[in-house]
Symmetry: C4
């Protein structure tokens, strides 16, 4: 079932690996079928070399396995909460990419220091609160998702489709698995450039809301003029 | 029309991508036909994999599309102003390369710390002033070009064929598209080495005008002795 | 003899090289045969291109050559001491990988700043004491091994399968050669991210023991739920 | 004439390029024929793609072209002085590799912070004095060579086969072109690791003379035991 989605999720996982954002068995991408609401996700612990489309696991939004002979990613409950809470997203990606993870470990949001950032994220990429001991001892991956949702209380997740989980690493999302993966690639680039910007100018401040919105809205929304008109 | 120029611009864009200076759909290269004054430029938002020579758009110096079924790069007005104002340039390149962008986001010119820099740029690579809110609200890409021209009030753009647009990223140029792309490659290398130089010696000063000119003039101008005599 | 082990050790050495952790003739991997207790190790000073499975040297745990026409790695006495002292390990790897070596040269243990670290190492990766002049003048490679053992007086080497030899570089181990190499790859990634974390937040502290153990035990031990059940 | 040497020098230049130490037309390698004393060197300004063995230029030790239709590297007088002054060297390499150049631009010698450094260089890699205005205005490339010789007044160039030319970049040498190139590769690795070591521990000191000599002499000289006995 959902052969196209499984192939799509498989390819998105491979793109993540080829882009250099994940090594070994790290990272995972999922995708949601718009019609059924079912989610396809990478199996846990497989290497990118051995993984095939038929290994992709189908789960419902409560995490019940609908199809597949392997365990889904241990991060599945985090993915599912994002699908339940963030309307309209069709793909979620999680990496341990070097610079985004460094910001997450520093427990700092990525400031918006330039137009490359603003082209993709309309403001800082937030970092979650640290989990309590109770949350760690309970349903940990669900609590991770809950911390992400809390970080977006005042941020529109379609305008900033990325987050840093404190002491852990980034999650990104998008309308499709491809867009979720692209946002992981952009976040890593933006996180590296922001770190270097601070190295060159420790007192640097973020760009103005006007420049930020000029760039974000040139690429997104009804008045966008970047790219080609939809055909 | 201008099939050779379109292929040349297509190849220059691919070289930019292969060199690692741009990812996804970022960056763009244009070239100017010396006879007609027309400019060929990358279409907006296409990936480097899908772009073909026939996708390259031909515009006149005022930005009117002369040939091509796709929208030209959203940065086209910036390119065109450089062609109108900087005499003798035949190619312009724009990237979001990591280190050059970090200097741009730090709003600092790249100091001339060594002979690698001086071999290619006769002095600091300047950074533009930030745009006013009025400029942001108006013809933004033209205003970006205007800020570049202003930064060269006291600098010869044929001696320093590169600039950092504040909070944005680098533009470079040259007598050809290939030279414009080469200058983007050199700028990224020089920007990285300068950042590391400051890390190793925060109080370092730029090289002397004598050493700078020795290297620049060994490669450029009538007494150059680097490379092979023109055949 | 031990043709499978020799091929296994040969392949593990090539993986180390392909992963970018070692250049030229640097680095070495060994593997131990569980039945005979014999150890197969890379010959000294060969390039990764020229090395073939038949070049792998077989030694006993006291370092006597049992098979092979070439000198074993000069680091062989260090490897052998680890096999004698750390129960149950089947592979040892040594690299001069960039970031792990920088921490070793800084004579600092790698702090546990995030879950990527905790997924693989249950606490800081320790650094050895510096060798005395007497140790340097005597059996140097054995003394290096002794310093490693001393660093694990209060650490379980199966929970932290990695060490930094002060002013030298990392050694890692595992139940197999493949696991030893994987731990070298993880250590380099973790060492890089930790360095960047400190750059972004000089006062950052390590993660809580609760978060560290949650991640380590999700992957290791009897209640692990990462990956697929053993078949 | 000297076809083997020309091919050897050609291949050494390509290895330099493939190793990532040089881009575009930067860098150059030369080799000396032990019998005739003649030197083969890269032509000036050719790309590594277009250069063929027959383009390699043969010069005598005074710089007279003995064979070849192209101009030799503009750095030829520097190479030749090293051959005249440093006994027994058979190859010289020059790069603008990132980290070695950063140390050169910071006008700091590379400290010996670890055994990787000591395996190859028996002490700090020195940096030259800056050239006077008179030297810059005269025979610049010869003066560069003279500054290198001066930096080795108290250092044996066979024990430290590398130097940083202030504000410029590294030169390395060896008994062969292959060894000269290997020393450029090692220097870049050592320069990067040293920079990171200082980032992690700003007050770090160099390793002890005992540890330094232990490693250098384990690889070099009559009591060396690294590698295989000469056949």
């Amino acid at each position: 079932m959902l052969e196209d989605l499984k192939r799509d999720v498989w390819e998105a996982n491979l793109t993540l690996h080829r882009s250099g954002l994940v090594i070994l068995t790290w990272g995972n991408v999922s995708g949601r079928d718009a019609d059924s609401g079912l989610v396809a996700i990478k199996p846990s612990g497989l290497t990118y070399d051995e993984m095939q489309p038929e290994h992709i696991v189908i789960v419902d939004l409560e995490g019940n396995i609908v199809e597949g002979g392997l365990r889904p990613s241990s991060d599945t409950p985090t993915h599912l909460l994002l699908y339940r809470e963030f309307e309209g997203i069709g793909g979620v990606a999680h990496t341990h990419s070097t610079y985004a993870t460094a910001w997450a470990q520093a427990r700092r949001p990525v400031p918006c220091y330039g137009t490359t950032h603003a082209d993709h994220f309309r403001g800082v990429v937030p970092v979650t609160e640290e989990l309590t001991e109770e949350a760690l001892a309970g349903d940990y991956e669900l609590a991770t998702g809950r911390a992400i949702i809390d970080a977006f209380a005042d941020i529109d997740p379609t305008e900033v489709p990325a987050v840093l989980v404190a002491s852990h690493g980034p999650f990104t999302w998008g309308t499709s698995t491809a867009e979720a993966v692209r946002n992981s690639i952009v976040l890593e680039q933006v996180a590296q450039t922001a770190a270097l910007t601070e190295m060159l100018s420790p007192e640097v401040s973020g760009i103005s809301p006007q420049l930020r919105d000029k760039h974000f809205l040139r690429k997104h929304g009804k008045d966008a003029y970047y790219g080609q008109p939809a055909r």
